[in-house]
């Protein structure tokens, strides 16, 4: 019975590249990885948005209406629904003039119990120290 912890760090804004979305879909797949593992073995995924990557978290993204594409917002909500640890860097929100009111903080409408955590970069550093492997997007 062992646990491998992965840290997904999203550094870039959404849409121009597919990467931020792939970060979330891969992190979400930690929920189904057990089929490949022995009983009790698990993989956890923490997700942190830093730098201009915090722009992924803006509310009211109309990607589906405009480009028939599921939004990064939807994927963040799915991550919360699946109890992933989703962190957003406070210093970067401040720098970009954004607050908790501007970003996806919960997915209550889907019944998610966890919320987005706005944290100082030092908390994200701590996560990076604790995980087994890092994946930067």
């Amino acid at each position: 019975m062992s646990t491998t912890k992965l840290g997904f760090i999203v550094q870039r804004p959404p849409y121009k590249s597919e990467n931020p979305k792939l970060a979330l879909t891969h992190a979400i797949s930690s929920q189904s990885v057990e089929v490949y593992l022995n009983d009790g073995d698990i993989v956890t995924a923490d997700v942190a948005f830093i730098g201009d990557g915090v722009l992924n978290c803006l509310k009211n993204q109309k990607a589906m209406e405009k480009y028939a594409l599921s939004s990064t917002e939807t994927h963040i909500k799915n991550s919360l629904l699946l109890d992933l640890n989703v962190m957003v860097c406070k210093e970067d929100l401040d720098r970009l003039g954004l607050s908790e009111n501007d970003i996806v903080m919960d997915a209550e409408e889907f019944g998610a119990e966890v919320t987005t955590k706005v944290v100082p970069f030092s908390e994200i550093t701590k996560m990076m120290e604790e995980v087994n492997h890092l994946l930067f997007f």
Binding site: L58, K59, Q61, K66, S71, G97, D102
Partner: protein, 98 residues
């Protein structure tokens, strides 16, 4: 020349725009270029907006990213894809996607 420049990134990795001095310059913010229209880093609007140019921002790309008309600087015109077509054909002679 009358030049329409498309800016599709927030962090540009080229300095070409600073060096172009056409007679008439239009800057069309698309894709992640739309953040220049809305974000004020540490309270300061994007330095790109200081250029002597006509500024446009593609509405679809703003809204895709969760941004809207209330967020944009007032010297920037919100436009549609159809407006881009008209700008290219009627207002400018050449285009540059940086």
């Amino acid at each position: 020349m009358k030049l329409a420049v498309f800016v599709s990134d927030y962090k540009l990795n080229v300095d070409t725009l600073d060096r172009l001095k056409p007679e008439k310059l239009g800057i069309i913010l698309v894709e992640n270029g739309v953040y220049h229209a809305t974000i004020k880093e540490n309270g300061t609007p994007s330095s790109l907006l200081k250029k002597n140019a006509n500024f446009y921002v593609l509405m679809d790309d703003l809204e895709t990213r969760g941004l809207g008309s209330s967020d944009i600087n007032n010297n920037i015109k919100m436009i549609s894809y159809g407006d881009i077509v008209d700008l290219i054909f009627n207002e400018y002679e050449k285009t540059a996607w940086l």
